[in-house]
């Protein structure tokens, strides 16, 4: 059944087909612009750790740019890119057209209005609290919620029009992710249970679920479609995929409080979070081994296809980053790493290593199939290697530095010693960040080629396979 799902190219009319392609392209292009902006800001604030006077004044102060960097990455880049990919995957795997192209465009406008308004508001100092990933004033977060609801409605409507009885697994994740994302946004914005320590509990829930129940499901949905598509081989075990879906759904929402270990939050809440952080190994190892087994024996295809390489890195980051997350949740290790830069390393290993790499793999793999234009091999190579090496330097620096920071505190050294000890690791972060940002410029150029360029049809391997599949 699933071999058909990923192979289905549909009997869409030329008009419907063009509508889908322009929606996919437009989402990708605006997401790319947000990526460039968000990581440009990220690079600027990385430099500020070495040169605190660099970029003075209220508008460029670190504390205002930091939430601008995270929110623009989350809600500008990743959200828009994943919903765009979600539309393409849903329509193609269901062999149908979009439920409504107009709704898709409305969603895109809402996403962009929210991200733009949120960025301006934060820079002017209008903020709803230093509450991680939900700093935007509440009415801007309602615009974002509207965008998510529109997307969920449109995606469900698209899947409802499918030509087969079954629903391919990708669509479970993509529809689920958007609906769960809407619930997360609602829980985060309602004010009545968010006073004092009550708000801390909600923060733990929100900051964790925004990552793991909004971005991760959409990214997994993209992998479940792209991987079989690019390899022209069904997923290793469909049943294992279904198992990972339900266990992820049951375990993940429970573990948010591990962000506030040793805080005055009830001890039982923290302990449950730790227990289920361990349980998360089940869906994580289940999901990643499923992907790796799908790739088994196809090393040659892998190294000749950058889309596959991007997805491979995404899968490895999923395995390593999520397992690291489980380890971090143990009280003994949290004692060293909590509140240090190790956490920043972890969040980049996951949001960058998993989410961004999967997004790029999906775009390089699927956008050329949609537009018929491909990025150059050199462009993809530059993007891949600079992003991978940059991310490696970034995460390694902060992981080592963060450990030293934590040990300094445990040994009772004067606090300023931990600031001094971080200096060389902050340089490492800046170097890694510079490489990552440079790779995004190349990505921008690649996206331009895939959308508006005059390039030939997608790479021979993919194009050939795509033809076979249609036949």
């Amino acid at each position: 059944m699933q071999a058909e799902a990923t192979a289905r190219h549909s009997d869409l009319s030329e008009k419907d087909n063009r509508a889908l392609i322009s929606v996919f392209s437009a989402y990708t292009v605006t997401a790319t612009l947000w990526l460039l902006f968000a990581t440009g800001v990220g690079l600027l604030i990385a430099f500020k750790f070495g040169a605190p006077e660099f970029g003075g004044g209220a508008w460029l102060t670190f504390g205002r740019l930091r939430p601008i960097h995270t929110n623009a990455t989350f809600y500008g880049f990743a959200s828009i890119a994943l919903v765009g990919l979600g539309y393409y995957v849903a329509a193609r795997s269901c062999g149908t057209k979009l439920y409504s192209a107009a709704l898709a465009w409305t969603g895109l406008v809402l996403f962009n209005v929210a991200a733009l308004a949120g960025t301006v508001a934060l820079d002017l100092g209008y903020i709803d609290g230093d509450l991680e990933y939900r700093e935007w004033p509440w009415w801007i977060r309602l615009i974002f919620l509207a965008a998510v609801l529109v997307s969920a409605w449109n995606l469900i409507g698209t899947v409802a029009r499918r030509s087969s009885a079954d629903i391919y697994l990708s669509n479970w994740y993509i529809m689920g992710g958007t609906l769960w994302g809407a619930i997360i946004a609602i829980v985060g914005v309602m004010p009545w249970y968010q006073y004092g320590l009550g708000q801390v509990a909600v923060s733990g829930f929100y900051m964790h679920n925004a990552v793991g129940m909004w971005f991760t499901p959409l990214a997994l949905g993209v992998i479940y479609y792209s991987l079989p598509k690019l390899l022209n081989r069904p997923i290793y075990s469909y049943a294992l995929g279904v198992f990972a879906f339900w266990t992820n759904l049951l375990f993940y929402p429970i573990i948010g409080a591990h962000h506030f270990e040793f805080s005055p939050l009830p001890w039982w809440l923290q302990t449950i979070a730790i227990v289920f952080s361990v349980a998360m190994l089940v869906p994580v190892w289940g999901g990643s081994s499923n992907f790796l087994l799908t790739m088994r024996g196809r090393i040659r295809d892998l190294i000749h296809s950058y889309p596959l390489m991007f997805i491979f890195v995404g899968v490895m980051s999923y395995l390593i980053g999520s397992t690291q997350g489980t380890l971090e949740a143990f009280r003994s290790l949290q004692q060293v790493w909590h509140l240090t830069d190790f956490t920043v390393g972890h969040s980049h290993l996951t949001m960058y290593g998993i989410i961004s790499f999967v997004i790029w793999g999906g775009i390089y793999g699927l956008l050329p199939l949609a537009t018929g234009k491909k990025a150059s091999q050199l462009g993809m190579a530059l993007h891949f290697w600079m992003a991978l090496v940059g991310c490696f330097i970034y995460v390694t620096s902060l992981s080592i530095g963060g450990t030293i920071q934590g040990l300094d505190w445990m040994h009772g050294l004067p606090f300023i010693q931990s600031v001094i000890d971080m200096q060389s690791y902050y340089v490492g972060r800046g170097v890694g960040g510079l490489l990552m940002f440079s790779s995004h410029i190349v990505f921008g150029w690649n996206v331009w080629r895939m959308c508006y360029g005059t390039g030939a049809v997608a790479s021979p391997l993919q194009a050939l396979r795509a033809e076979e599949s249609v036949a």
Binding site: K48, F49, G56, G57, T61, F62, G63, R64, R66, P67, G125, I127, D128, G129, D130, L131, I156, A160, I167, W172, M175, G176, L179, W180, I183, I184, V187, G196, L197, G198, Q199, V200, A201, V202, F205, N209, W246, L249, P253, I254, A257, H259, F260, F262, S263, P264, L265, P266, L269, L339, T340, D341, T343, G406, W409, M410, G412, F415, I416, V419
Partner: protein
């Protein structure tokens, strides 16, 4: 259609239940927590300062949560649920690029220091990487009546005129001054049985070791220079500076100071234990407040610290022992 309903509806229902159980419901219950004893709402000016703190993202580098861990003892007693009654939006934070500020009003009571530090942190802490908030200040030819200009060291001061804080800066500093942990009643204090917390610092071992050392009639004054230097960096150098010279007009010099070099250390011990305000040193009156350290440092630690000051920067005060500090502490009671 049924299959779609099952997957989409089923998973969303499950998720909504979990979101209620792990997000909303704890939120509802914990929002009802009463204030702990001595926990007061902020004044209008302090709340305004809190808004400045939030708008400029101070909590991305400064936490406001003291964990029940040895590493956190320098920042105060462990935070209790009752401390957060009036803290909305919450400011617990997730990173400690800079120190925790839960108890900063008690740890650094000097607003003179806070203003200099806010204007340019490196004027008082050379290694700091905190941004300058000089845009919260104005340079004027002469300070208006009732406003004290910021006493900046010469190389950080503008070429002409004086620096005065704007209303924003005043509100922010008022907020920081209000960040003081009220003492927990003995029954609630976690592990308060040991009496005086032998908290801070430089001791490479765990805190209990130091406590034992001070209790068991001090093993004679073999002054630990490493510990003394680290204690000085952690507790004193923000004002008196690593050079011991202080900042002219703001913080008195310890180098060559009469109290530090006098062989009778009674006054020196008294100042460290109990703090000082409106001090007159070499004819200059300093308006900065020095905090007391009797609550945070043990006798042995204070002895190491004082011996470090008495033997550094060309000072020649007679060394003291932990027993002497203990005697002074007993006298103060």
């Amino acid at each position: 259609m049924n299959k779609l309903l099952l997957i989409v509806g089923g998973s969303t229902l499950v998720y909504a239940c979990l979101a209620w159980t792990m997000g909303v419901w704890p939120g509802i219950e914990l929002s009802k927590l009463p204030a702990g004893p001595g926990v007061e709402p902020l004044t209008a000016l302090q709340s305004e300062g809190r808004e400045v703190y939030v708008a400029n993202g101070c909590s991305y580098c400064h936490t406001q949560q003291v964990r029940p861990l040895d590493a956190d003892k320098v920042f105060g007693r462990p935070s209790a649920p009752g401390d957060f009654k009036y803290q909305t939006p919450e400011l617990l934070g997730s990173e400690r690029t800079g120190p925790d500020l839960t108890n900063i009003g008690a740890r650094q009571p000097s607003s003179v220091w806070q203003y200099i530090h806010l204007y340019n942190p490196r004027a008082v802490v050379p290694e700091s990487i905190m941004p300058s908030f000089n845009w919260m200040f104005a340079v004027v030819a002469q300070a208006p009546a009732g406003v004290t200009p910021v006493s900046l060291p010469r190389n950080y001061a503008p070429a002409g005129g004086v620096v005065v804080p704007t209303h924003q800066a005043e509100a922010l500093i008022a907020y920081l001054a209000a960040l003081k942990q009220p003492a927990l009643p003995a029954s609630e204090a976690p592990s308060a049985s040991g009496g005086a917390p032998s908290a801070t610092g430089a001791s490479s071992g765990a805190a209990p070791t130091t406590a034992k050392a001070s209790a068991a009639a001090a093993p004679v004054a073999s002054y630990d220079a490493t510990k003394g230097a680290a204690l000085y960096t952690a507790n004193c150098s923000a004002c008196h500076q690593a050079s011991g010279e202080g900042l002219p007009g703001a913080f008195p010099s310890l180098k060559g100071d009469a109290v530090v070099n006098k062989d009778d250390a009674t006054k020196h011990v008294d100042v460290v234990l109990n703090g000082l305000h409106d001090a007159r040193v070499s004819g200059v009156v300093y308006s900065s407040v020095m905090p007391p350290f009797s609550g945070t440092l043990s006798d042995a630690e204070i002895a190491d610290l004082i011996d470090y000051e008495r033997s550094s920067w060309g000072n020649h005060g007679a060394p003291i022992t932990a027993a002497q500090v203990g005697a002074e502490r007993a006298k103060a009671k």
